[in-house]
């Protein structure tokens, strides 16, 4: 399992079957505060990298969730829709946002690993 990170504070975990799971990082949920609503993408819709694929709303603010890679949505987290606070309490596991079928797995190569992402947070 490989987890990569975007400068917009999404994480993406690649699976062996050509799909990947996307969520927001611990840092992102901490910066947002209490999450009260998530707007998830439609299954079957395709996105290019950096396109807005969802919205996460905290008590104070709304933030866009960007698609990290080129691909098609194959599953969304209904559990998160029912309990948006999962994005706060378990952002890397139960609080995942959606699963995507990768069109170009090579896109992952250019993304940050956890060390590079930690450096980004330290320097921002």
């Amino acid at each position: 399992m490989t987890i990569k990170y975007t400068p917009d504070h999404e994480w993406i975990e690649v699976h062996g079957d050509g799909t990947a799971t996307v969520g927001i990082t611990h840092h992102a949920q901490d910066a947002l505060g209490d999450v009260v609503f998530v707007d998830l993408p439609e299954i079957g819709k395709s996105y290019a990298p950096k396109e807005i694929a969802g919205v996460v709303e905290s008590v104070k603010a709304a933030a866009d969730v960007y698609m990290p890679v080129t691909g098609e949505i194959v599953e969304v987290n209904e559990g998160l829709r029912a309990d948006p606070a999962l994005a706060n309490t378990d952002p890397l596991k139960a609080g995942w946002f959606f699963k995507v079928k990768l069109a170009n797995p090579a896109e992952l190569d250019a993304m940050m690993d956890s060390t590079a992402y930690d450096d980004l947070l330290k320097n921002s």
Binding site: G33, V36, F37, E57, S58, V59, K60
Partner: protein
């Protein structure tokens, strides 16, 4: 880049793990570790301590101070009893609202609290118009704490016996464990509670004494905003501005009969010619209709509707704009306030908010959304 000012409690906020944000020119705590929802609920069930030292505190001194202040606000100040506080509005010549404020008459002065973001303009406005009639004394050396919630009385009366005898909008001088304080039984959360004005050198000690009480937790500006919105209270610069008149803003209750046409001291404040015809008055004439009104809005949808969202009718006709909105942590559903065309201001009217590419069904509703629990004796 402007340097952010710090209140006397800044170091305490940092020590308590607050997330600090710029607000009204100050570096202020938006939330502490538990987060806005927990802080909101704690204030509704126990007692929350807010640092509101960024707000402006002023004293107007002299026998003519009350009459002088009445030239700037459409509010009855002259008849305000000693140790009573009242909500007031600075208005402009066009009938717009320059700021909202609290005024308390004390034996030797009028004690005035204004919003942080407006205090420089407010002070200049007061000095320009009132300096010839009373002494205008800014009090930057004063800190201001708000202790709010159903257990505020229990916590504070332990340290300052006697505060439990006050009722809503009373004020009085007290000692908190030896520290001199001017305390009013008021606040801006819809809960029973107190605002406590103290010297900045005592602020840290008094704040720690309050936080040592088992009922009390520190609460940030994030929860202050959701609390005041559930209580149906306006935030200056958002729900009321220079483009809204008191009648449009549904604040006619703040204008006493004595200042309305037919009253003993009618008018004499900026914007009277615009504001007064919009008020029900003692001469029994129908108030002239306003084109739009501030209303409360509720929804069972889950997606938050925030400031700036357009409001439309079922037919898609534009009706107005949301000025504040959130998921009400106590009431458990969406609450908002905003301006709609008067034709759609009746309670129960269905409207739609436009959020991104979606229409959110909302209903005009009575405010406050959460019951006010002021202690009236």
């Amino acid at each position: 880049m402007t340097t952010l000012l710090k209140t006397p409690l800044h170091a305490l906020h940092v020590e308590l793990g607050a997330k600090m944000v710029p607000f009204g020119g100050y570096d202020m705590p938006v939330q502490y570790r538990e987060g806005i929802l927990a802080e909101h609920r704690h204030t509704r069930t126990a007692a929350g301590l807010f640092d509101v030292s960024h707000m402006g505190q002023l004293r107007l001194v002299g026998p003519d101070a009350a009459a002088a202040l009445e030239t700037l606000v459409p509010v009855d100040i002259i008849d305000l009893p000693v140790f009573k506080q009242r909500y007031a509005l600075f208005t402009d010549e066009n009938g717009g609202i320059l700021d909202d404020l609290m005024v308390c008459r004390r034996p030797d002065d009028l004690f005035v609290v204004v919003n942080a973001g407006c205090k420089v303009q407010d002070t200049a406005h007061i000095r320009k118009h009132l300096s010839s009639r009373c002494e205008v004394i800014e009090s930057p050396e004063r800190a201001l704490l708000a202790l709010q919630g159903p257990q505020a009385v229990t916590a504070l009366s332990r340290l300052a016996p006697g505060v439990e005898k006050m009722v809503f909008m009373d004020g009085g001088f007290f000692k908190i464990d030896g520290f001199e304080a001017f305390i009013t039984r008021s606040g801006y959360t819809g809960e029973d509670g107190y605002e406590i004005s103290i010297h900045e050198r005592d602020a840290m000690a008094v704040a720690r004494l309050l936080l040592d009480q088992p009922e009390v937790k520190p609460i940030g500006l994030g929860a202050r905003d959701t609390l005041r919105l559930e209580a149906g209270l306006c935030l200056y610069g958002h729900d009321i501005t220079t483009t809204t008149t008191p009648a449009e803003a549904a604040l006619t209750w703040a204008i006493q009969k004595v200042r309305r046409s037919g009253g003993a001291r009618a008018g004499g404040y900026p914007g009277y010619a615009v504001i007064d015809p919009q008020l029900p008055n003692t001469q029994a004439a129908q108030p002239s209709p306003v084109q739009r009104k501030r209303v409360g809005l509720v929804s069972n949808e889950k997606m938050p509707v925030r400031e700036g969202a357009k409001l439309v009718s079922a037919e898609g006709v534009e009706l107005g704009t949301v000025t504040s909105g959130t998921l009400g942590p106590t009431v458990g559903h969406l609450v908002a306030m905003g301006y709609v065309a008067s034709s759609h201001a009746a309670i129960g009217t269905e409207v739609f908010a436009l959020v991104r590419d979606k229409r959110v069904a909302m209903k005009v509703a009575a405010m406050p959304f959460a019951p006010q629990r002021y202690f009236r004796g």
